[in-house]
């Protein structure tokens, strides 16, 4: 293994790339941890954002103003402010206020990791919700009327008629949002969550091997997003309703 690493470093050096950091155990560990953390973040935030998006879309299209109003306000607030600002605000300000209210930071179980997961999922949830709302509103009114005529409640109509059709219409937009979500996890660098951009940044500020680590970063994220997009396309094909015009 070590020989392989040494050969790789020598080979990279021949084309002018400096991968010397691979000989430093502490930097290698931080770097690999960073990759693992990014994968865990993606695996956590994708389902969370989808769950949040569906609930928000349901609230947005509800005919009860006390449900639709706050949901709309939330979507506007999250969608219109930068995610990085939201993250720094929650970690550096909101979390400090929570710590103070609990009588000291030692009593506060929430940290940068929690806020990163929450902010990224909830931000993308707002985008999902808008995509789904479009899908829900595209369901023909006659179809809903028919379902109501069959005795379905409002919630049942949403669950068995509107959402399944809305999901199909909204899928391309949702997959787009998920690709964005993967890239959004990189804002963790600003609050010292050790995801891959943070790890790379910590290494290249010491060693000035920006180009080398940038190449790895680009390949790494392209790989994840290629997989996400492929998976999305497969789901789209699987869910396609013959004759529904999709």
């Amino acid at each position: 293994m070590q020989d392989a690493v040494r050969d790789f470093i020598a080979l990279a050096a021949r084309i002018g790339l400096n991968f010397d950091f691979l000989t430093s155990p502490f930097e290698v560990r931080m770097w690999l941890d960073g990759m693992a953390t990014t994968l865990v973040l993606v695996a956590l935030t994708i389902p969370l954002s989808l769950a949040g998006g569906i609930s928000l879309a349901a609230a947005l299209t509800s005919d009860r103003p006390w449900l639709a109003g706050p949901a709309r306000a939330y979507v506007e607030l999250t969608r219109n402010t930068p995610t990085l600002v939201q993250l720094m605000f929650t970690v550096l300000v909101v979390n400090m206020l929570i710590s103070q209210a609990l009588g000291g930071a030692q009593n506060n179980p929430l940290g940068a990791w929690f806020w990163l997961v929450a902010v990224v999922s909830l931000h993308v949830a707002a985008l999902h919700a808008e995509a789904l709302r479009g899908g829900i509103e595209a369901v023909p009114a006659t179809m809903i009327e028919a379902a109501r005529g069959l005795g379905f409640s409002r919630l049942e109509v949403l669950r068995v008629v509107e959402l399944p059709l809305a999901l199909r219409t909204a899928l391309p937009a949702i997959v787009n949002n998920l690709v964005n979500l993967v890239k959004l996890t990189t804002i963790g660098y600003a609050v010292a969550v050790n995801e891959i951009t943070y790890a790379s940044l910590m290494i290249w500020t010491q060693r000035d091997n920006v180009v080398e680590l940038m190449i790895v970063l680009l390949v790494f994220f392209s790989g994840i997003n290629l997989a996400v997009a492929r998976l999305g396309a497969a789901v789209e094909r699987r869910l396609a309703v013959p004759g529904f015009g999709q």
Binding site: A10, A13, R14, G16, N18, F26, M88, V91, L92, V93, N95, M96, S99, G104, A105, Q106, N108, G111, A112, Y189, A190, V191, A192, Y198, L201, M202, W204, T205, Q206, R207, D208, V210
Partner: protein, 276 residues
């Protein structure tokens, strides 16, 4: 290895050629003279080194004054460019600045990729700030504890490797100190001079906090960083630095900007004056 040998040979050849032609300075010094401007990358992360005066919106601090004094010695005007720890080396290497006065001490890794005039103008190490009731008294107490630093800080590696701390690198010092207050970390490690002045100037805001460990971590020499191999720029800046130190101008700049500990500069002044 594969890369360095031809580079070294090229540098040697360049040095020989420079010796032959004699009059021609290196690219940076030529450029400084040609445009009549010395462009310096400075960090504005806080007093005493560099900050923006809230009243006049002017850049102030030790870095700025030293840069201005150096430009004067070179006989050109000063232009400052604000840099941050993650981008400062790129700014220098891409030629956006001629030199860096960016709170960067000499480390082995940095010396591999950049050069500096040998005259040292200050010595700085990291001090540990934390809540007075945190029970931390020694660097060894940081084992397994979260410690905040600025991204790119040269305290990162010793904190992890020597003391086993869990280092959290925030984009810059203000974020790191906010994170300390928010409980993200129990200690923040930054340049001692900056923290000392902050505790003095904002005593009310920081009354529960103090410099908890009496020693500083990895005290190292503060130098002016320039691109690799620029011998003439280095010589010109070195001459200017020596003059600033022996004439007492540097000490004056340090005192004006309230560097709390000027012992090193005074020592340098004595040594250099005696050597003349």
């Amino acid at each position: 290895m594969f890369r360095k040998t031809p580079l070294r040979a090229a540098a040697l050849l360049a040095a020989l050629l420079a010796g032959v032609s004699g009059a021609c300075a290196d690219a940076t010094l030529d450029r400084i003279k040609a445009k009549g401007k010395f462009t310096v990358g400075v960090i504005l992360s806080g007093a005493p080194f560099g900050f923006i005066d809230p009243k006049t919106q002017e850049q102030k601090g030790f870095n700025i004054d030293l840069a201005r004094a150096l430009a004067e010695k070179l006989g050109v005007a000063l232009e400052t460019v604000t840099v941050t720890p993650p981008n400062r080396v790129q700014f220098l290497q891409q030629g956006k600045v001629d030199a860096l006065l960016a709170n960067m001490q000499v480390t082995e890794d940095r010396a591999k990729i950049m050069d500096f005039p040998p005259t040292v103008f200050d010595r700085a190490g990291g001090a540990a700030i934390g809540r007075k009731d945190s029970g931390i008294k020694d660097w060894a107490d940081l084992k397994g504890k979260p410690v905040c630093v600025s991204q790119g800080s040269n305290f990162t590696q010793p904190l992890i490797e020597l003391y086993g701390a869990v280092v959290k690198g925030l984009p810059s010092q203000p974020e790191s100190l906010l994170a300390l207050k928010g409980g993200t970390c129990v200690i923040a490690v930054h340049t001692g001079a900056t923290l000392g002045l902050m505790l003095e100037d904002r005593a009310e805001e920081w009354k529960d906090y103090g410099i908890l460990i009496p020693t500083e971590i990895v005290p190292a020499d503060s130098v002016v960083w320039i691109r690799k191999g620029e011998k003439d720029t280095s010589a010109a800046l070195d001459k200017a630095l020596r003059e600033l130190i022996t004439s007492g101008k540097l000490l004056e700049i340090a005192k004006k900007n309230r560097l709390l500990n000027t012992a090193f500069i005074e020592e340098q002044q004595k040594t250099l004056s005696a050597a003349r």
